[in-house]
Symmetry: C2
Subunit: 174 residues, 2 copies
C-alpha cells in the first residue's frame, strides 16, 4: 500500500477502542506481566503510546509544516511512561490515550495536508532526513507494532502451559 | 502464569469484540492484503478462527472428557477457510466468529471442569499426548498469536512507506 492520509487515519482511529476491547476487562496478571527482565508489560506499552501522543507525532508534524528553518526533531523518550504512568490504573491510561488520540486526529485533519506537503522533510536526530509521509506512515505502523507486541507479551504468559503445542506457535519463541 | 480456567476465559471472551474494533471499520486493502505469496490476510485469519470454533477446540475438549477409549483428535484443516469464507463479507465473518465463540464459551462453562479433569489426556495426531489444560491454554494462545499476526500483516503494508524508520520496527522484517 502507498501511504494515504485517509487509510492511515482509519488505523489511528481504531487503536484506542481496540486496546479498550483487548485489555479493558482483563485481570491484573495479563496486563502487568512482561516478557522478563526490563521488557514491557501491556500496561507499560499503553503508557508509551500516551507519551507518543503528547510529545512525538503532532510536534514532529508541526516541525515539518511550520516556517522555521530548524527542522530537527526532539528525541523521543522511550522510557518516560515509567514515571508518567505511576499511580494510574490501566482504565485511566486507556481513557487518557483515547482522549489524546481524538484530539491529535482533529489537529491532523485541521492541517488539510496536501500531497505536496507530504513530501516536505524534517530531520530525525538519529535517522537523518525523513518526509512527512514517512512520519505519518510510521505513526500508523507504530500502533500496529505495539498491538502485536501486546498480543505477544500476553501469549508468552502461557509459554509453558501449552506443552507440545509451543512448536506450532512461533510467537512464543520471540 | 499457570493456566486457570477463569483467566483463560477472559482472553477468549475479548477476542471477537477486539477483532470487531480492530478490523470492522477498515477499508478493503487493510483487511484483504497479505504478506505476499500464500500468506494470510486478516480476512483469511478471521476465517481460520471460525473454523477452529466449529471443528477444533470444543470437539477436542469433548474427546478428552467423554467416556470413549478413543482419545485421538481429528486433524485440524488449516486451509478450510479459503472454501468456507467464500462470498462472505468481513462483517459477516466477524459476526459469525462472535456467535460461535459465545456459544462455545457457554459449552465450556457448562462442563464445570475440575482441576482433576484439567490433567486428563487426549492424543494429538502429530504431537502425541496432551492434557486438557494444555489444550485450553493453546486455545487462548492461538487467539493472541493470530491477533499479533493480523497486526503484523497490516503493519507490513507500510514497510516501504516508513523509510528509514523501518530500522526501528523489527516486526517489519518478519
Amino acid at each position: 500500500m502507498t501511504y494515504q492520509l485517509s487509510e492511515g487515519i482509519e488505523i489511528l482511529e481504531q487503536t484506542p477502542r481496540t486496546l479498550k476491547s483487548f485489555l479493558g476487562q482483563l485481570s491484573d496478571p495479563w496486563v502487568s506481566n512482561n516478557e522478563g527482565g526490563n521488557s514491557w508489560s501491556p500496561y507499560d506499552i499503553v503508557g508509551h503510546l500516551i507519551h507518543g501522543e503528547k510529545t512525538d507525532w503532532i510536534p514532529r508534524i508541526q516541525i515539518i509544516l511550520n516556517d522555521s528553518e530548524n527542522k530537527i526533531f526532539t528525541s523521543f523518550d522511550r522510557f518516560a511512561q515509567f514515571e508518567n504512568s505511576r499511580g494510574k490504573t490501566l482504565t485511566q491510561l486507556l481513557d487518557e490515550f483515547e482522549d489524546l488520540r481524538i484530539k491529535n486526529l482533529n489537529i491532523l485533519r485541521q492541517q488539510n495536508i496536501s500531497n505536496a506537503q507530504l513530501q516536505r522533510k524534517g530531520t530525525h536526530p538519529e535517522l537523518g532526513e525523513v518526509s512527512l509521509s514517512q512520519l505519518l506512515a510510521c505513526w500508523v505502523t507504530h500502533d500496529l507494532a505495539h498491538i502485536a507486541q501486546i498480543s505477544r507479551v500476553m501469549a508468552k504468559q502461557y509459554k509453558d502451559e501449552v506443552g507440545p503445542w509451543a512448536a506450532y506457535i512461533p510467537i512464543l519463541k520471540k
